[in-house]
Structures are given as C-alpha cells and as structure tokens.
Subunit: 314 residues, 2 copies
Amino acid sequence: MKIVVGIDIGGTKTKLGLVCKDGSILSEANFPTTDYPLIDDFILQLSKSIKNLLKEEHELIGIGIGAPNASSKNGTIENAANLNWKGIVPVIEKLKAYFNITIKIMNDASAAALGEKIFGGAKDMNDFMTITLGTGLGGGVVANGQLIDGYDGFAGELGHIDITLGDGRLTGLDIKGGLEAYVSVTGIKRTVFHMLCKYTEDSILRNYSYKELNGEIIYKAALEKDFIALKTYHYTGKILGGALANFVAFTQPQAIFLTGGLLKSGVLLLEPTRKYLEKNLLQVYKGKVKLLESSLMDKNPAILGAASLIWSKN
Amino acid sequence: MKIVVGIDIGGTKTKLGLVCKDGSILSEANFPTTDYPLIDDFILQLSKSIKNLLKEEHELIGIGIGAPNASSKNGTIENAANLNWKGIVPVIEKLKAYFNITIKIMNDASAAALGEKIFGGAKDMNDFMTITLGTGLGGGVVANGQLIDGYDGFAGELGHIDITLGDGRLTGLDIKGGLEAYVSVTGIKRTVFHMLCKYTEDSILRNYSYKELNGEIIYKAALEKDFIALKTYHYTGKILGGALANFVAFTQPQAIFLTGGLLKSGVLLLEPTRKYLEKNLLQVYKGKVKLLESSLMDKNPAILGAASLIWSKN
C-alpha cells in the first residue's frame, strides 16, 4: 500500500502521520521539538519516529514537511523565530541521509493551503488563500490553480505585513505593525491588555497576569459576555477583516480559508471578520469572496498539508 | 507579415499601435477617449483608427487591450473610476462586431507586467511585479511564470490597498488610506499640500493653486532643491518603499518594476523608495528583491503590454 509521511514541525511539538492518497491518516506520533536543540539529534529522532510508524505492508513514496520559515526551493528552514536551530538549516539534505526518497518541505501555511486543495474544501478552486491563526499568522496563496512559492520559496509571510504605516506593535521578527501582532493567539492576548488599559469596565480578565492569560480563558470570558473579551474579539475581527480585504486586491481569491487555534472561538471571531472584510472590499470584489473555516479543522490539517506536498505530484 | 494591434484605453487618451512579434511598433495613432461618452461611438472610432493603421501586407492575428478596471476573464471594463462609461461594459463583444479575430483585454497594469515579460527586462524572470504610477497606482503580478488573473480577472488592484488602518486619504474608489492616494501623480500633488500645511519654509510651490499644480512643477522645484518638493519626494518614496516591502510577503518577487508618469522624477523617487523597501523587508527577503525602472519606459509600454496579451500566446 502506497503511503506518504506528513510531518509538521512546530515550535513546541513535532507531529507526524502516515497519510493515504484519499487523505485518511493511518497512524500518528509526536514528540517535543524543544527536546532537540541540536538539529542532528532532531533529525535522528524524527527518522526513528518515522520508522516506528511504518509497517511491512507500507510502500513509502515520499515525505512532506511543513515548518515555519521553510523555503520550498532551497529545502531549508531559515532564521525561524520560533525554533531553536538558528541560521540556515538544510532539513531535506539531512533527512535524505536516512530516507533516500522524495522529500519536500514548505512553509506550514502554504502546506495548509495545498492540503485544502488536495484533501479539503478547495478541491474545485483555482484561486484561494489559507490563513493560519496560531501562535503567529501565516499565509498560503493558490492562484491559477498553483501554489505560489516565490522567487526562492518564501512567499506568503503575511503575518509580517505592516498594517499601520510603521507605527504599530512589533512582531517576533521585529516588524512594526505586523499583522500577527494583532491577529493570532498571541495577538489576541496583547489586545486584551490594550482593552484592559483603555476601558474601566470590570472583567474576569483583570484577574490574570500576561503569562497566565491564554486563548481559552479569553474565549470562555467572551461566552459569558465579558465586556473586555467581547471588545477584544470585535477588534481582532475588524483588523483581520480589513487586512483580508487588502489581501484580496493581490490575487482576487474566490475564498479565504481560516485555520489554526484561534478558530476555536468560532463565530466570535468569524462574524466581525466577515463583516469588516465585506465592508472594506473594493466594489469589484464585493459579494465574490467567501470566508470559510478550513474543512480540515477536525482532522489534522498540518499533517495532511505536509503530506499533500507529495500526493499533489502523484 | 503577422501583426498585433495593441490598444491602451486611458482616462484622457486612447492609444493604439501595430506591434510585431519582436516588440517593434510599426505605426501608432491616438484619439481623445473623452470625446466619446457613449461606448458604441467609442468602439466605432476605435475600429476606424485600427483600420487606418492596417496596410495590405499586414496579417492581423489579434487585438490586445489594456484598460483600467478591466476583467480579463469577463472581457469587460467594470465600474471604472476614470472612464465615462459606467457599469459593466462588454468591450470585447462590441469590438468583435468589427473584427472577428482573437481579442483580449486586461487591467492596464497587468498588461504592463506581461509586456515586461514578453518584450522587456523580465524575460528570464518567473516571479516579479510591475507597479504603474500614473494618475492612479496599478499592480500586475507574475508568479510561477504566469500572470495572476484572479477569480474573475480583477487581481492586482494594489492602488486601493489601505495602508493606514482605515484612517487615511480617500482614493477615487472611496478606499480610506488607499495607496494610490499617496503614491501616484495625484498622490504626490496631495502630499505637496500636506507639506505646505505642515512646514513654514518658503517654497516656489506656495504660488500654485491645487488645480494649477502638476507633476512637472513639483519635479522642477525638487531639482532646484526646494524644501517642500524634496520633503514630498522623500515622503512618497518612504510610503512606496514600505508598501512594496509588504507586497513582497505575498509572492516574493525577484524584482519589482516601476513605470508610469511619476517615474520621470527618476532618482528623486527611486532613492528613498529603494532605501525604505530594503529597510522594511522581512529578514528572509533582504538583499533579494531588485527595484528597477521598466525597460520599456522609453518605448510605449502600454501599447506593448496590450500587444503582449496576444503575442504571449503565439
């Protein structure tokens, strides 16, 4: 049975799974990325995890990897803000020492977009975008039916687009006013503190330190109609909607898929985002852009996205 | 001899020319767009102008048209801010009544980008952008070696991207903070008035009304080291450089070509733009994006761009 390994290298965890051509995941594993500060140790552990998953009946045809700051063209991870390995890491070359088959790597959000096209809701779409809203914000752009790689494979770093004329919050890569400083799990936490500063209303969120606060606490507060939490979601959706309206002017996508941890908040985020997207769209785009949750949300979108790097060519 | 007609429909003038496969222009003509407030009269005049250019030895293989707010997929011009014809105008269908051959239409900036790929400095590039800086600001995006059309052919409307969190100057299409309200021949004029308001230094530009002022006056003042004019170019380049740095995050172009009337100011605009582009680029992009003047600037880029819609397929 032909099989692909899909790998999602994240700042805290590395997840992997065996993926069939129809997008079903046969088995999965994961281990802490942070346990391996040296890249060679990490690659050794990764190769062991892959071998543990494989059984005799599997014919491994390729390995796909999604990772932050990955270059699809160079086969590398370069200067990642949220990983231990600094500089330029030749991931494919190193993993090839263990598996002499096709190995591909890509920006995690680009992989998510490709996954949506191969296994998800974008099967019949030629022009769409995927925005991942996790610790940061990532973008994957499909146009003319193809994933846009960029000159050396770094297209889609939409979290670091400045939305404020250079006068806003800093991102982890030191971009002033960068979108992910507002719209991500980290961004929404920062916004809570902005709102706690701006307003005087009482709020359950006044009981948490910055280090204690997390997305789930904010979400629960909003469900209880907490004033600060509701303001925070509205503000986040307003900024995301406005930014997405700008994004549409580039490649005029038919749909924008949202995915990632922040989406657990559901309509709390989607409703204002949809409103401000439509409001800010240029006339020629109005009514033509769907805002959708990724159809892979309840599966494992990162592993499926990574596996699609191989399955899209087979 | 095989020949293509390239047509540039502009707010004031419509230009056309006979273009050979090598990009040479055999003959040209133009007439005022504004003389024909009814689209059928305009199409009739256009067909006459084309027939006047054609000689017996020419074998017409197609007509390419560049126009503002054109949809390549629908064959239309839709809700153009700077043209008399309102609503949706089926340009290709109407011109087909006179010429039953291949006719293509495209956003003028997208046509300029394709012209750069077929006839200009982007022949060997797969990933680049063209920004046209005229009355407004337009964008054409080439990625993976293909022009990006968008879902129904309206990709690249970069002049209406909001760069100010919804709190800036209005564009002609009512977008608050839209880039072309700052960076275009119109935008630089508006900036002069901002600077005349902000500073108290004397300036030759204090002698002109808003209606009298034009790009040439500003350019000449800058050459004379006029304080307000120099501030204006610096401000414009700073905003354009910052915006281009954002644009790079989408498709990671290898080069950005600039063209249009505002480019007559040469280094006055290019120098600050280049500086702030490089300064604002995300680390992974630094040193990898060339900022270039279009190599078709001294030819007729709009006619060549329009003709490339046909020659790119032949």
